[in-house]
Symmetry: C2
Subunit: 496 residues, 2 copies
């Protein structure tokens, strides 16, 4: 079977147009704030738009049908072309002069990771800060399409299971699902972003900061316009509680938000993943808060040192960091690696949790953990009764062995890639804690990591090769591993 290459390029060209359109938006913001970067950002927009138009023009005579193989190339290629074109505003304005650094910042954006190489953020032009926020906000939109419409069709990592619960027609063609389910969820995504912006503004942020942090929250990206991230508002608890609520919503299944707005609250409350997600976050937040309250050896933050043993502040920071790490947002109110040794291991473990399926969160995801744990427990029963057939159930339905298999294979691959990822970072000279933390954080699209990559530090000190490697880990983690890694198998490229 020939690969339909023209349709691939056509779609990638469309994505460039899309990206160029957002750059125009950034240049308008730049113009409003008169930050001096307007012309450079406009240039980037024009180059991107022209390139998109050119590619679409030369491939306008394309095949209509997108098969699975084209789908894989479009997904990975799409994320890459967005990141590659996304560097232009950084390079043209000189905000990030190095290509390696600029690409790291964009792929960290489009994968909604939020790891940054920027040391001095507050001095950058507003247009560039807005563009930086846009990259992960666009990435979040892409993830919603991917989760709802593309991965289930490709049969990746058990996402079929989640798709069965989605609203909209259950057609098996790509197109109707994109235009239908994804659009409904996009409305919610945009709606939440607007709502958070308004609330943050009311709570005392400037409109610009409110807008940028809302985009960072909903995409579970975590870029901030402040050097201190959310620690900047450590003496404004209301702002932090608002962000907590929206991080929680962004890490939950958007389909459930849709049902909630339709008044089907029962559907939300009965959802097994949502129950588990809520309980886990609650329990972990309580554990973290207690340890912080009684044991934290250092103050909560360098910016606004807390009074040790302050109950509200311990609870808030515990809850904030648990949600920020497990939803893979990566916002920072304090350096969680400096509290106690236990909390360092604890937050390292949380990097492997991830949010819910159908959210913008990265990581392994709660649904997979539920199925892995259930299947693990049943394995004991199966060992005791070798002849009985004991299937896994999820949301009161039997899950096919094939899907359980899919999910476990995903977990194994994730762990192997984590070990390889850490080894490579170690090879590049990182110490043990930084290498292990950096790999877990990149693969899970969290952002802040451990050791020299701790929440108060950043990724600028990585050697260039390390930046490219972390970028690869982010991309593989974000696209559910198989989508990216399958392109490296000879079988994929074999003509049948």
């Amino acid at each position: 079977m020939e690969l339909n290459s023209r349709i691939i390029f056509y779609v990638l060209g469309m994505l460039l147009l899309f990206n160029g359109g957002f750059m125009v938006l950034a240049s308008i913001v730049s113009g409003i704030y008169q930050d001096g970067a307007t012309l450079d950002i406009s240039m980037a927009a024009i180059v991107t738009l022209m390139l998109g138009v050119l590619i679409m023009f030369y491939t306008r005579d394309h095949e209509k049908e997108v098969k699975a193989r084209e789908g894989y190339i479009i997904v990975t290629g799409g994320w890459l072309i967005m990141s590659a074109s996304g560097v232009l505003p950084y390079l043209f304005t000189g905000a990030i002069p190095s290509i390696t650094d600029a690409f790291f910042e964009t792929i960290s954006g489009y994968t909604t990771t939020g790891a940054s190489i920027l040391k001095e953020i507050e001095g950058l032009p507003e247009g560039i800060l807005f563009w930086r926020s846009l990259t992960h906000w666009i990435g979040g939109m892409g993830i919603i399409v991917l989760a709802v419409a593309i991965l289930p069709l490709l049969g990746i990592g058990g996402m079929q299971l989640f798709a069965a619960e989605s609203p909209g027609p259950s057609a098996d063609k790509l197109h109707p699902r994109i235009t239908d389910t994804a659009k409904r969820l996009w409305y919610i995504y945009v709606g939440y972003t607007v709502a958070e912006t308004i609330l943050l503004k009311l709570a005392g942020m400037t409109f610009f900061d409110a807008m940028n942090h809302s985009m960072a929250t909903l995409s579970t990206g975590g870029f901030s316009t402040k050097n201190a991230s959310i620690a900047h508002w450590n003496n404004q608890p209301l702002i932090q509680y608002i962000i907590i609520v929206f991080m929680f919503l962004a890490g939950a299944n958007f389909v459930l938000s849709y049902f909630a707005f339709k008044g089907k609250i029962q559907k939300v409350l009965r959802d097994e993943e949502f129950k588990f997600y809520s309980i886990l976050i609650f329990v972990f937040a309580i554990i973290a808060s207690i340890v912080i309250y009684f044991r934290a050896a250092v103050p909560i933050s360098d910016y606004h040192p807390m009074v040790l043993g302050d109950l509200e502040s311990s609870f808030r920071h515990g809850l904030f960091q648990v949600i920020a790490v497990s939803t893979t947002t990566g916002f920072v109110t304090a350096d969680f690696t400096s509290w106690t040794p236990f909390l360092t291991v604890f937050f390292f473990g949380l990097m492997f949790l991830g949010g819910s399926a159908g959210s913008t969160a990265g990581g392994i995801k709660v649904m997979r953990h539920i199925l892995i744990i259930k299947n693990g427990l049943l394995e004991f029963k199966r060992t005791l009764h070798p002849n009985a057939i004991i299937p896994v159930r999820f949301n009161n339905k039997t899950v096919s062995e094939h899907i359980v298999y899919n999910i476990i294979a995903f977990f194994v691959l994730y762990m192997l890639l984590f070990i390889v990822g850490a080894s490579v970072l170690g090879f590049l000279g990182l110490d043990f804690t930084s290498a292990v933390g950096g790999a877990a954080s990149s693969l899970g699209n969290v952002g802040p990591a451990l050791g020299s990559l701790n929440p108060l530090s950043n990724f600028s000190q990585l050697p260039d090769l390390g930046k490219w490697w972390c970028g690869f880990l982010m991309l593989a983690g974000r696209l559910e591993l198989f989508t990216v890694l399958i392109l490296f198998t000879p079988a994929f490229w074999k003509k049948i």
Copy 2:
């Protein structure tokens, strides 16, 4: 179904007799060396023997049949009762006065881990040192029975696959297999121990040291009679090369040694796991050697500082440490955590490799890695061709889905237990590197770990709870997880 509890106690009583017999042996060694501990060790032997006889006497009227459920209890209970009675020589002689420390040392022995809480080893009575070596040598014998005769019957972690290749009658009753296959492998185990003792003596060790280190090698335990472990002989390369060869043999499938002695060399060379095991060790040794040669920032050892950039010594230490860690022996010629950051991550990764199935090595084991990797690669093919049935093949035979499932479930459980294990150690106050390394090392029965538990240090500094927790991890890892953890499931104890 009632549990046949009398047969359980009867077998445990037999094990006590067995253990007491070995204590008599230790007291004889003590007598020969006139180390002053003879009477105390004899007392320990008498108590253990009497307890064994008493238990067997009161349960002599037992049922004949051992079913799966009794099997599980006997295995875990057996390892526990050996460790519990094994503390007596330490306590009675006062060599280790604390019960926690003594139990840590024995369970570390019987699980062939080789992690120690002893700081000053060379001053101990010969009888006690011999007893310490015996504990892991006995543990190694137990592991051979377990792997060949018990786990395959219980259907644990894919060990059925390995058993299919074993010599001896393929009966499905427990008894004939123990007395047949296991005995043949025990001959090899004893034979190798004798051979290594002779070679080490010829190479310049004292007879006592040769004997103890041979037992430590063949069991992949790694207790040494020297404070500096094998670094004591850093200026006697021949001794270290001999140990390298026997560590390699101990980490390989004993069944293959059996075939080799029967002249069936073809069977050895065609074995997929053996090929993989040899190649992996070779490749990893080369990588480690190169890095040591060009990059190691610190001398190889505090005891006999090497000349940096010495080719033979770099190769020897690289090879030695790669084999020592991947076969989970844990002998030490140098502190691998002080070479380069990369090598720390590298050896941490090796802790998850493990030796071959049917060896005395712990860890995940090469056979499982092969099947996981093969299945992972095939998963890509399956994703591309959703309707094709693509089975995994091993040693030219199709592996049933059930066994692949078993193995993957094992891997997932191993990783989860590792994360929980590290979290608990972190909670007990260990820093990140020590907690993560300590959990990986204990679970994989390696011995030396990272951070404050590095190869030149030991486990004495752990808080008491940490010692018990590491002991639990060693036991769970050694008994292939399911055997131990199944006892914690309610389903196991439910009457049917």
